[in-house]
Symmetry: C2
Subunit: 288 residues, 2 copies
């Protein structure tokens, strides 16, 4: 089973694009995403992550506003642009997008490779007023087999649920790509690591998976976002970023995704996933 998909033997350059989308300005957001994707690819990145809702902005005032900015996957103009960029650059993209499927809206991430759209993740855990506009994701936590490795995507508040990381790791994900719009949490201070970064480090370490989180910056309709995009190794340590609080920038890391498949057999006795003992866990941990 471990040999089913290829995984880069040479280092793979991963990039997280930290940018500021502007609510409602889809044309401007797409132009910016194109420029930064081209920059990242020019710098050698073959896996590129963009923030949550990077084509639409985040702070919708009404469902109508969200609906008007949403697109279908893969035939909307955003996916068509990103597919063309993936094809031209040879990079695989994981990007947050405001998705419309019939009457339903989803806060989604699309995975697009050089040959076209590979799959979609729909945010499972909705945050705050997102519940007014979006349906809860109904695709679980899929892991996508791609030329660069096994990729899972999830979005922002999903990071607060260790079940999300574990679900992806148990399905063999090498790297979790996280389009996000992190907001400040109580007690956060600039002289210590962002709690969002701590969650990412702990999740990578506990599951022996790489994580690449691309955040937005700026303040939109009164809501500040915290930047600090981060790439961590399968050991949990930062290998790219954290990025700044407030500047558009691209962070990079060169990773060997096959390291994630070793699942840290630290000792002759231990294996981070096989050491799980589900029979000991609370019976309401998993009900499906």
């Amino acid at each position: 089973m471990e040999n089913e998909t290829s995984v880069a033997e040479a280092p793979l350059r991963v990039a997280c694009i930290q940018m500021e989308p502007h609510i409602g300005d889809k044309a401007g957001n797409l132009q910016k995403s194109e420029r930064m994707i081209r920059d990242a690819a020019k710098a050698g990145a073959r896996l590129i992550v963009l923030p949550e809702l990077s084509n639409s902005g985040y702070m919708f005032q009404t469902r109508d506003e969200a609906f008007g900015l949403a697109e279908s996957i893969p035939d909307g103009e955003t996916c068509r642009l990103w597919a063309r960029l993936a094809s031209e650059t040879g990079a695989t993209l994981v990007a947050g997008i405001c998705e419309r499927d019939g009457a339903a809206l989803y806060n989604s991430a699309v995975v697009i490779g050089p040959a076209g759209c590979i799959g979609t993740y729909r945010k499972v855990h909705l945050w705050d007023r997102e519940a007014l506009f979006f349906e809860p994701g109904n695709l679980g936590f899929p892991v996508f087999t791609t030329d660069v490795g096994r990729i899972a995507a999830f979005i922002c508040y999903d990071c607060w649920f260790p079940e999300a990381h574990r679900s992806c790791a148990l399905q063999g994900a090498d790297i979790l790509c996280v389009p996000t719009n992190w907001v400040p949490v109580p007690g956060q201070r600039e002289d210590r690591e962002a709690m969002a970064n701590i969650l990412v480090m702990a999740a990578a370490h506990s599951n022996s998976v790489f994580i690449a989180a691309a955040d937005r910056i700026g303040t939109e309709r009164g809501q500040p976002f915290i930047g600090q995009s981060l790439i961590v190794s399968q050991a949990g340590w930062p290998i790219g970023g954290p990025a700044s609080y407030d500047r558009e920038e691209i962070i990079y890391a060169d990773v060997n995704l096959s390291d994630a498949r070793k699942k840290r057999t630290w000792t002759a006795f231990n294996h981070i996933l096989r050491d799980r003992r589900p029979e000991s866990y609370a019976s309401n941990l998993k009900t499906a």
Copy 2:
């Protein structure tokens, strides 16, 4: 259900005793535990956590050595001493102990209140050569109702399994007490937080529970331990410690455990435990 047990309305002083047990020197280890428990109680602590295997030491060479140092709960001399100290000081203790139950050995934590032994936790996830000596814990992750609040205990490598924290939180634990013998992990450096501390902060934040982790120090038969005992709030931020790498000391925090029961309803829409969506998680996340 939320009102079934009392929980301190006034702040509760929690202490973690960071000490160095010496392998095989049970009398010396117990003397030291008595002195430090009395010091903590004198300083006002009403919940006191001691390290893993604090009565025996950790680096057993043979099963016979471990067996010779193990005791039954609650009638062994270690539990009798700790019960007397709990009674005299009015404090509740959570302490790591080498347990013998018939022919079986367990790496256990005992919870002892002023009125006597309340319960036992047996380490579920065994680390490294512990598998040579101990049975895997067979009591799940119990949550104990005590006068100071709902207490769960777990031990060291258990912290690497988010299922452990979640199991306790789902059963209503207010505080997780962690007797531990943390060892260095690859990539750890003195200029950044210990990965063990990062795991503790992430677990507290993700579950909205307090965590008090009492580590040992010193090098035993070639194995170094890292100290850095830590108490974190239900928001995930340190409120006591981290302690030093290499000194015996006691860290304190004044907590209001009822804060854990609010489960951080950050927004009108969100509740950190009720937002879980088990139907979306991998079907092999929980098999029991």
